[in-house]
Amino acid sequence: MFDLYRPGTSFLHRAPAGGKVLALFVLGTLAFIVDDIRLIFAGLALTLLLYPVCGLTLKNAWAQIRPTLWILIAIFIAQAIFNTWQLGVFVIARFGLLLLLAGLLTLTTRASDMIDGIERGLPFLRPLGVNPAKVSLALSLALRFIPVLAQITREVREAQRVRGLENSVIALAIPLFVRTLRMSDDIADAIEARGYRP
């Protein structure tokens, strides 16, 4: 989901961002309603076919799945033990389809276009007190700062290793939490300094 835009001229690159987000929402919901494994595999095959059609490689597709591979394997094992292995295959095929669809969206859509699309599509949430501009900025910040957070995590882990705290979750979590809070203050200042008014 967090892979970034690859420039291109395919029909998906040219399609409006709001429409792509809506399509992802609909197809993602369908993937969880449909209980015929053949349809899920057909969806997987079609989605994989779209990658080269959009000028992307199967390596790009694999990059969408790879970070969650261990989670998918754990889900498969749990399903195989407590239900059936066929159900395990079905569940991970569903998740895989969702990840590949989400990857297609982020690889063919600039974050700014996606955010504009989401902002235009969410005004109906205003009466509920939800500000679409804030939602879309939050999404952009998530895309931007996940790699930064990963870098901070690596730095904290290295600092703790030096002190002999190799396997302590608390020793990692507390400084990470503190640094993230400090970073969020700086980011808020930076956004404000660049004239942001939601």
């Binding site: 974050a111 931007r144 930076a190 300094a193």
Partner: protein
């Protein structure tokens, strides 16, 4: 002109800036001082990121307390860590962010983005993820993101602290070439050696305010570097 009149700031009852009155009229102004001396607080006052508890800060006559949006357009701010200043994933998207906030039209945004990217040799990286730029390129991107907002003044908060020598030289060169008034908070005394004016903060007050050789001399003496 930026003018501070009898400005004081406190955090949790601790005074971090006390009774500062300054008129900033020179084109290149350096701000130095030990850690915790109040210089970063001073920098944040200049574009209204921080409001004074007492006194007033005005930018070309606009009070930072009442004219925040106008002041933000007049005074750009470049932070120490560009990683926290770049808020969009792609290089060209990030440059456009400030202009969108100020209501620039699409054609202007596209033209100014291109101009800024070419100015700092970032054009080939325009559709790349900002996270893969070098430290110097990130700082140049942060400066570009501010420049396109057409500020009259740019405040830099320790812009070279996190950079290696090559990147430091690139960013220093970029600051020197700016047409705008630059107010640079720094520990790098070489960076401000040829500036028009240097203000030294100590114990939350202005300790010295003079031409660089005099002000830096007083700072070195106060730090025991003589």
């Amino acid at each position: 002109m930026i003018e501070l009149t009898d400005v004081s700031v406190s955090y949790n009852d601790k005074v971090v800036l006390s009774e500062v009155s300054l008129r900033l009229t020179e084109r290149r102004i350096g701000v130095i001082g030990s850690n915790g001396s109040g210089k970063s607080t001073f920098a944040r006052l200049l574009n209204g990121l921080l409001l004074p508890d007492r006194g007033t800060v005005t930018v070309d006559g606009l009070d930072t307390k009442t004219k925040a949006k106008e002041v933000r357009q007049k005074v750009g701010f470049v932070f120490q860590n560009p990683d926290y200043q770049i808020v969009f994933p792609l290089v060209e998207e990030d440059i456009a962010f400030g202009m969108k906030n100020l209501g620039f039209d699409k054609a202007t945004i596209a033209a100014k983005t291109e101009e800024a990217l070419k100015r700092y040799d970032l054009w080939d990286h325009r559709t790349h993820a900002a996270q893969f730029l070098s430290g110097g390129q990130k700082q140049l991107l942060a400066i570009s993101g501010v420049l396109v907002m057409e500020p009259s003044y740019i405040v830099f908060d320790e812009p070279t602290t996190l950079l290696d020598l090559r990147n430091k030289l690139t960013v220093t060169g970029a600051i020197r070439e700016l047409e705008q008034t630059a107010i640079v908070v720094t520990h790098d005394l070489d960076l401000i050696a040829d500036f028009d004016r240097v203000i030294v903060f100590a114990d939350n007050r202005v300790m010295a305010d003079d031409v660089p050789e005099v002000a830096i001399g007083k700072y070195r003496k106060a730090m025991g570097d003589v």
